[in-house]
Subunit: 328 residues, 2 copies
Amino acid sequence: MSVRTSSVFEAMQDDLDLVRQRVAEAAHVDFPVVSRLVEDIVQAGGKKLRPLLLLLAGKAFDYDRPRLVTAAAGVELLHTASLVHDDSIDRAAIRRGQPTLNSQLSSGSVILIGDFLFAQSAILAAATDSTRAVAIFASTLGHICDGQLREMLTAHNVQQERQDYFDRIFGKTASLFAGAAEMGAVLGGASEDEIQQFRGFGKDLGMAFQIVDDVLDLREHTSDLGKPAGNDLRQGIVTLPIMIYVSGLEPRTRRLESLERVVAGEETGAEAIDEVVSSIRGSGALHEAGQVAESYLEHARGRLAIVQDRQVREWLEELLDVTIDRRA
Amino acid sequence: MSVRTSSVFEAMQDDLDLVRQRVAEAAHVDFPVVSRLVEDIVQAGGKKLRPLLLLLAGKAFDYDRPRLVTAAAGVELLHTASLVHDDSIDRAAIRRGQPTLNSQLSSGSVILIGDFLFAQSAILAAATDSTRAVAIFASTLGHICDGQLREMLTAHNVQQERQDYFDRIFGKTASLFAGAAEMGAVLGGASEDEIQQFRGFGKDLGMAFQIVDDVLDLREHTSDLGKPAGNDLRQGIVTLPIMIYVSGLEPRTRRLESLERVVAGEETGAEAIDEVVSSIRGSGALHEAGQVAESYLEHARGRLAIVQDRQVREWLEELLDVTIDRRA
């Protein structure tokens, strides 16, 4: 894996700046203390893959910049709102190497700030003046909550079906990539078939993105992640690499029992967790999970045949490369 | 004040039952444990004033039942979602005499269930297929969050302007009544002027509703309220009757100091709180606050002149009576 500067980010920089500006305006709060914290959260946001995907999906058809920028800002803010609640639920203190709101405000304020950001994202979606874009937005929010509820309710149990994992990550992550691509195509005036191909592209990209995230959580070191390594394990969340690792263990072995105790939350010592993480790293499970991510990306690549504009197709391919060649 | 059975509830019962059914369907969750708890919350819902207001606003014009029922279910679910988060923020254990989700689930689950209900309410709003209804819905959610944030950020301080209180209760309560009435009129095909009159009617009704609520919180006993009396005081929330009481106290008196300690959260003993509550009851502040509520209702009544249908006008007047003649 290599570090690269992707030209799509340069090419789209002006429009991404417009998105950032819309997000900042929408997230403005009257109260100075809260306002500063919310601005930090909003500005910290990583690569802006979701709004970029939405803009590119629009660019594949009719590029109606004002509406696409509005929708892209809505998608980014929805993502931010869901991170705020997610951090509040995990009681996470660090995200993207920055202190979370959670570490600086009461839990009540954090819930309300998340709700406020949800509201602002809904206002942006409504401002596209497209009932279909709004319907996609609303059902995406539903999928995200469903995925997060599933993750919470299936936690602490090592024995799970892979399908449960795929359903969960579709909800919590891929649904927003799918919705972003779909909204972009809808606002670009694509045909129904094209819209569905873009939705599928976004879904595949999002599935790969989350699998890579789950691999990084186990592969990278705390200093690179900007959050503790093995964070999923600590929270009892069983991800694909852990499932692959489990499938290679015999019943009632010490390794399986150690993992079960960590996932159940019975063993919380750093040393025990590090040992499980090392054992997963040595098992080949991370590589195998990476291959599943690659197969999603290949599937996504295949869908790009419908994109007529060669430049836009190359940019969308770059998004696929960025997803797999990712460090924490 | 007297207990009465309002004929509007009987007349609209079939349509309100349709609303309840839509709400129950939308709030369905796949997980049995959570599903049962969510159903309890959804079914416990009081008089359904907000959906009723929306339906009646539609009935004043063209009664497009399916879309109005959909929007009314969206409004009711938005209200329920905001109660779920509110209880989570207050860490309230009881609401409407029932245990809250908060007392039965982890705080993380409660945040997610609230988010899930927000998502479902947004899906219902989008299903009206009216961009204006969706825009009203989204901005209402924004006002609710703004009001709740204001309430939290101004808490624990006795010295506040009345305007702060009115801004807060507009956001947290009246905005949803205003939005419900506006949506009903919009979906009924009313003219812009009629829509604004209905929005104003809903706002006035909602302001009165919240002031009455704040009076009841101090006037009624714990057994009637279904939650502890003086709950606002305990949380440091300074409501209109408390402001009126403060304005009648001399600086540096024992009464003012007792109140300040309770509001600041420095004094949390039940006896001290009961003493402050008794003192407020004896001061005439509850009566004076009630008069402010009545003036909002009179204002609302004046707006009904535009309603041509006498039956619908009488039903809307009944809503005003129900708001003031309310026990806990």
